[in-house]
């Protein structure tokens, strides 16, 4: 079985550190170094257009420290801190994405240990993800009603009365047969909680109740009195769900 190579980058303002890290990374066949950056801003620009699996990150960076950087990327990528400062170790482990904390100068033996920790860390992440998916499935299959937080009031909504959901920035607009609500949430989170047999994401901004479809025409669907766009990518899947005579 082949192991997927992990794309990684180095962010460190010292050339010496970047050179040492590059050498240590080159000894590990599971790692593929795709870039090294002397400052966090350059790295952020790179991450806007490229995906990586792991970041070797210095804490002391010009203008922008390592923790600011982690907060900016929302802890979405695993990080190994590489620093000459032992004082941030406690703070570091408050971040779920931090795998290890290496104090410079780094020896090959200590780097090996970090790689072993990375393997264990990724294993735990995988287990967590699997159990979360199971929980989501249970949650979605049992939901026939749910509560929404609307102006500090919890309002019960019968799932069968929902016509559609529409994303609007950090908010989601919910249209039911008799009402409409706007809540602070994301379409993705809501999608996970809906029964999969009757709700379908027809467009990146819309989830519809397929039982409420009035008609489908070209790249749109009529739900109640509202016309909802269907993305080209999702149309064939929607057509499979409707019972065509």
């Amino acid at each position: 079985m082949t192991t997927k190579m992990k794309k990684c980058i180095i962010i460190d303002d010292e050339l010496m550190s970047r050179t040492v890290m590059t050498e240590l990374i080159s000894t590990k066949p599971e790692l593929h170094l795709v870039g090294d950056f002397p400052d966090a801003i350059e790295a952020l620009k790179y991450l806007n257009h490229n995906e990586v699996d792991l970041i070797f990150l210095d804490i002391h960076l010009p203008n922008f420290n390592g923790f600011d950087f982690i907060n900016t990327i929302n802890q979405t990528i695993n990080v190994i801190l590489v620093t000459s400062d032992k004082n941030f170790a406690i703070e570091a482990f408050e971040y779920n994405c931090i795998v290890d904390y290496l104090v410079k100068p780094i020896t090959p033996e200590r780097f090996d240990k970090a790689m072993a920790r990375l393997k264990e860390f990724e294993g735990n992440q995988k287990k967590k993800k699997t159990s979360q998916t199971k929980e989501d499935d249970i949650e979605s299959s049992n939901a026939s009603e749910f509560y929404i937080n609307n102006s500090k009031r919890l309002i019960k909504i019968d799932v069968n009365t929902i016509l559609y959901f529409r994303a609007n920035g950090d908010y989601v607009f919910i249209k039911t047969e008799s009402n409409s609500y706007t809540i602070h949430n994301t379409l993705r989170k809501i999608e996970n909680k809906l029964p999969k047999d009757s709700f379908f994401k027809v467009h990146r901004s819309y989830i519809i109740n397929t039982k409420k479809i009035v008609d489908i025409e070209d790249n749109s669907v009529l739900i109640g009195k509202d016309v909802i766009p269907i993305s080209r990518r999702n149309k064939s899947e929607l057509m499979k769900r409707v019972h065509l005579l």
Partner: protein
């Protein structure tokens, strides 16, 4: 008032001081001569720049900024195997961060030792 660099230590003090070495470079390069030379070239390039920044910041009493440079110099001291001097650099770095200059003379003596070593590499 602008800060002066700490007075030089006597030659006797320097004689007893921990001496730098390139064992770390040898270990990392694993008999790869060109990589070892690359590391030496980097330390020869980065150390004088950091030393010059440090001297200028201290002269201008910019202690907090100087602590950031000491942080980098500390790494150079570390890669040159000076474990006791590394601890001293760390103490001095924290002292600068808090606005103090304790251990300045000792730290600058370490810098001179490192510079002399690097110059003959």
């Amino acid at each position: 008032m602008k800060k002066r660099l700490a007075p030089r230590f006597t030659s006797k003090c320097l004689k007893n001081m921990e001496q730098p070495n390139i064992e770390y470079f040898e270990k990392l390069s694993n008999n790869n001569v060109s990589f070892k030379q690359k590391l030496i070239d980097i330390v020869k390039y980065e150390f004088p720049l950091e030393l010059s920044d440090y001297e200028s910041l201290i002269k201008n009493d910019k202690l907090k900024e100087a602590s950031e440079i000491v942080h980098k110099l500390k790494h150079k001291i570390g890669v040159l195997g000076m474990t006791n001097s590394y601890v001293l650099a760390e103490t001095f770095e924290h002292s600068l961060r808090d606005g103090g200059t304790e251990n300045q003379a000792e730290f600058e003596s370490v810098l001179r030792t490192v510079k002399a070593f690097i110059d003959q590499l």
